[in-house]
């Protein structure tokens, strides 16, 4: 019984991390139509940044925020100066982001070597709380809490603020949005930077339990992809549901069919593609 409960808690925690990763991916993919193949690299590079900050003795949350900020700058620069020139051209965008993914992977290998890094969980978040006779590891619960807070904040931003309305307008009809005075290109840079920051932030807070190692980037990228295909691109709710679904499948799959755990992750994606290609919460795009 307690095994299943542990698995469930782990699943929810992984789901929370996946949401942070795929929310940005989903926005970039759904709103800007950019296939950002370096999103997993943002996650990994962010995690490495965090590991280094922690090694300097910086507070855990401060490290996560600093790493997110650094990645926002990097992502923003790449979008502003390179991706921007390729607007609407899928193949060049793919090559550019893929190229950066390889560059980042190799630089990480050079700087942080091939050995895995696993920072210790911050002391005030170690241990477990007892609820109704069952133990829950605090850190995992905190991850879920952070993910939920960010999910609500993103939802409020996109659906209820002036900024969100401008973003939605830019996505629906960029030329008209420009005509009414919305600076669409700045908005897109902002979204890209935000997505990069979220991925890096997730990388840092996930580091104590996923650890950071070469290849993490291309392990996370397909997960973000599956989540977005499952939930529907551009849909935050879809990303949330998809993330928790994948979180559960990953942990339970690994416990029950260790050899095939990775493959099982893709099954719901295949089902959704066959039955509902726009994703569970996606809109039909003409």
């Amino acid at each position: 019984m307690s095994l299943w409960l542990t698995l469930a808690v782990n699943s929810i925690a992984l789901g929370g991390l996946l949401f942070l990763l795929s929310a940005g991916f989903s926005l970039i993919f759904g709103l800007m139509r950019i296939p950002n193949l370096m999103h997993g690299s943002f996650f990994m590079l962010g995690a490495y940044f965090g590991v280094s900050f922690l090694a300097f003795g910086i507070n855990f949350w401060l490290a996560a925020l600093a790493s997110g900020a650094a990645m926002a700058v990097i992502g923003g620069l790449i979008e502003r100066f390179l991706l921007r020139r390729l607007e609407g051209q899928i193949l060049p965008q793919v090559l550019l982001t893929l190229g950066f993914a390889f560059i980042i992977a190799d630089i990480c290998l050079m700087v942080w070597t091939g050995d895995p890094w696993q920072p210790t969980t911050p002391t005030h978040l170690q241990g477990a709380v007892q609820v109704a006779g069952l133990f829950f590891p605090i850190f995992r619960l905190v991850i879920v809490g952070v993910a939920v807070v960010i999910a609500i904040a993103l939802w409020l931003m996109v659906d209820w603020t002036r900024l969100g309305a401008m973003i939605r307008a830019g996505v629906d009809d960029a030329p008209i949005a420009r005509v009414v005075g919305i600076k669409v290109s700045q908005l897109f840079t902002l979204i890209f930077a935000l997505g990069a920051a979220l991925a890096a932030f997730a990388g840092v807070i996930g580091a104590p339990y996923l650890s950071v190692y070469p290849g993490l980037d291309f392990e996370m990228l397909p997960l973000a992809l599956i989540v977005v295909i499952l939930g529907g691109s551009g849909s935050l709710l879809g990303a949330l549901v998809g993330s928790f679904l994948i979180g559960f499948l990953y942990n339970f799959g690994q416990a029950m069919f260790p050899d095939l755990a990775y493959v099982i992750l893709f099954l719901p994606m295949l089902l959704v593609l066959v039955l509902r290609p726009q994703g569970l919460f996606g809109k039909v795009v003409s």
Binding site: P92, G99, F102, I103, M110, D259, V263, M269, L273, V274
Partner: protein, 332 residues
Amino acid sequence: MSWINSRRVAIGVALVLLATLPVWIGNPYYINVSSQILLFAVFALALNVLVGYGGLVSLGHAGLFAMAGYTGALMLDAGHGHFVAILAALVVTLATSAVFGVLALRSTGIGFLMITLALGQIVWGIAYRWAGLTNGDNGVNVTTRPAPLGISLASADYFYYATLVVFLIAVATMAVFVRSPFGAALRGTRDQARRMNALGYNVWLIRFLAFLFSGFWSGVAGLLFIYYNQFISPQVSALTTSAEALLMVISGGTATLLGPIIGSALVVIMKNVVSAYIERWNLVLGVIFVLIISFMPEGLVPGSVRLWRTGWQALWSRLSAPAARKTGEQGP
């Protein structure tokens, strides 16, 4: 002598050079590099069917390549003969391509790319994690090369010739394919899918058949690869392999027959040269991607080929009748 034109002369010279390559290159190392170029050219040509002529960018072709390689290697490992192993590998690859095609063609553009990427990762997941079947990270050894018509392919020379024969068959098939009504229909679905639909073409079916065709030749290339390396590991099915193949197609120029071949030569030679000096192939690959996109978005070869061709034609038109032949369509 109207049958002589620059194109035919070039093809003739290329054929002679390729056929006599082991003689004038001599060094087995370079002969092996040439075999690599030819086998990856087959792979790049296969991918080009979708990327260049179909306008469908696949990032999952390493999955098909590795599927053929693994099936062949595992069948041989289980004690089956080469004929059975090759046949099984091609059948399995075709079946996999059919599944990939059905799923990926639910979408086009970015969606197609993302789905093929995910599908390719499934194959990687099986190769890497399902150790009971695929021996995981340790890979599978292929102890012998086949001996068609009683000729052993163990030496670099003979293996090169076998690869050359397969390569030429592949090029010929592609040439026929490109000129055929089906090839024209595929280009039609790339440029004007809606109009093709209105004209009564089954756009989905055309794309699906192109996917199968592409998958088949990827499988052939995968088989050549395992016989060349006599070893296969999950690394082959990784995204890097798909990306390299895509780089071959793009750097050479999409939707041409020559492009992927030149691209393959570029990438293989660069990879061998770079690997001899530093261990940073991925970094170099990434930098090349970024540089090409930033400075030469049309690809390296189309630009230089066009320059070369205009220069050559200007010269040639003074010597004979103007060769007003338009070859190769450029993608958007």
